[in-house]
């Protein structure tokens, strides 16, 4: 009889607290979004599954020597997983469009205002007594506006590990929602005439330029903002492996089995931070709302920056590519293209939008470096 009691007392049914039940549903919601709605499935499927595993009552998979906690400590606390992903993203990035039209870097700069506006918002809500975010928390939340998953995770692991789960989920969810969030803002801020602007075709960029650029980028980071060097260093390294053309077998592995493997374990480890007691806080709701605002402001600032640049330049930029400055590669660039085609079905903005799109990656890594330097 004792055995039966023990068996029953150890079941999940008996040990479950309401929060865990809710989080199991949240995990299944993430799986639904990933599988049925195809929202960033590469990340949200492992995160969702990790969330389910982490909230199985009595299993302790995300605590102590549980396997998800091991993945978290080894891969995220050390910074290794986000940095390796960044190397992979670098190896998948083509700086060609950016090099053909470098001034689109400024669009990537402007869109980072979403990050800082959100930081201000989070601190404002704290001042109003609605939430209780520290400056570190606020900075980590702001980075959601950078629309860059690994950067968000990296910064959160340094500044606000308790919020990492919510921040990562918000980051990837909103990246998936870019096609819904951005178009209304883009249409509201542009005139039909602006949306019709056709841009001059991009020149072809030589391999030499593509090889020098990542090294130059890293040197500038080294001289001006060393705290951004891990992120942008690995990014530049991945890109250099690809563009140099002399280590194709390494570059292939980085772009395939390595980034895939790390993505799986990163996702599971992030999911392990969705445990009921730390995720089911009013703060999480704040993070979700603030993250959405961050995306919207970033989008708007990118568009406005493009319009401002047109005031000073003969070579007009279609302001629809400004929204791509938030990064969310390559989704945001596709959105620019799609909204552009609505006005003129022959005006393909995709390649033009890739410039600000990858500039946005650089911009948020710089913003991340500043946050870490001031607060880390």
């Amino acid at each position: 009889m004792d055995q039966l009691n023990l068996l029953w007392s150890n079941t999940g049914l008996n040990q479950m607290v309401p929060g865990q039940g809710l989080m199991l549903l949240v995990g299944m919601l993430l799986l639904y979004l990933a599988i049925v709605k195809k929202f960033e499935p590469l990340l949200l499927l492992p995160i969702g599954f990790g969330a389910i595993l982490a909230n199985i009552p009595g299993a302790g998979i995300a605590e102590g020597s549980g396997i998800l906690h091991v993945f978290y400590v080894v891969g995220i606390e050390s910074g290794a997983f986000p940095l390796i992903i960044f190397m992979g993203v670098g190896a998948l990035t083509d700086f060609g469009p950016l090099l053909a039209n470098p001034k689109t870097l400024l669009l990537g700069a402007a869109a980072q205002f979403g990050i800082f506006a959100t930081l201000l918002g989070a601190i404002g809500l704290t001042a109003l007594g609605i939430f209780d975010f520290s400056l570190k928390d606020a900075a980590a939340i702001g980075i959601i506006g950078g629309a860059d998953g690994p950067t968000s995770i990296y910064v959160a692991s340094k500044l606000a590990p308790d919020l990492l789960g919510a921040i990562a989920v918000a980051s990837y969810s909103y990246m998936a929602l870019v096609p819904l969030i951005q178009p209304p803002i883009m249409r509201a801020l542009t005139t039909e005439k602006e949306r019709l602007i056709e841009m001059v075709q991009l020149r072809e960029v030589s391999q030499t330029e593509k090889i020098i650029f990542p090294i130059m980028l890293l040197m500038l980071v080294a001289l001006l903002l060393p705290d951004a060097a891990p992120l942008l260093g690995m990014f530049a390294f991945g890109n250099l492996m690809k563009e140099s053309g002399v280590v194709d077998r390494l570059s292939d592995t980085v772009q395939n089995s390595l980034i895939n493997t790390v993505t799986i374990f990163l996702g599971l480890a992030v999911g392990s931070k969705l445990m009921a007691d730390s995720f089911l806080q009013s703060e999480t709701l704040g993070i979700l709302v603030l993250g959405m605002i961050a995306f919207a402001i970033g989008t708007a600032c990118g568009v406005i920056m493009a319009k401002t640049m047109n005031l000073f330049s003969k070579n007009k930029i279609n302001p629809l590519i400004g929204s791509a400055g938030v990064s969310a590669v390559p989704m945001a660039a596709r959105v620019s293209n799609k909204v552009g085609l609505e006005s003129n079905p022959h005006n393909f903005l995709l390649m033009h939008a890739m410039g600000p799109n990858v500039a946005g990656v650089i911009g948020s890594a710089i913003a991340a470096g500043i946050m870490i330097q001031f607060l880390g």
């Binding site: 001034k103 700069a109 800082f116 030589s206 020098i212 001006l224 500039a359 911009g363 710089i366 500043i370």
Partner: protein, 83 residues
């Protein structure tokens, strides 16, 4: 209260310095990138005469092959229509 004013002040400072630095950095990157592209394009132009010869050789070879392909396709169309 005072603490919160401090917090807000800090946040504003961080925002100002942050956005300022982001713009500074990326503006610098624009200039450095342009400079690099100009230098490399000049260097390529200097070394290109040699390259051009090489290139045009390749091109003419390619042109010949295209000519051949064109001919084959035309014949096929003729056969298709005429026969």
């Amino acid at each position: 209260m005072e603490q919160q004013t401090d917090l807000i002040a800090e946040a504003i400072t961080l925002t100002l310095f942050g956005m300022g630095f982001v713009f500074l950095f990326l503006t610098l990157l624009v200039f450095v990138t342009k400079l690099m592209s100009v230098v490399i394009q000049k260097m390529n132009k200097q070394s290109s005469p040699k390259d051009d010869v090489h290139h045009s050789d390749n091109l003419s070879l390619k042109d010949e092959m295209d000519e051949e392909a064109k001919f084959v396709i035309e014949q096929a169309i003729k056969m298709h229509r005429g026969a």
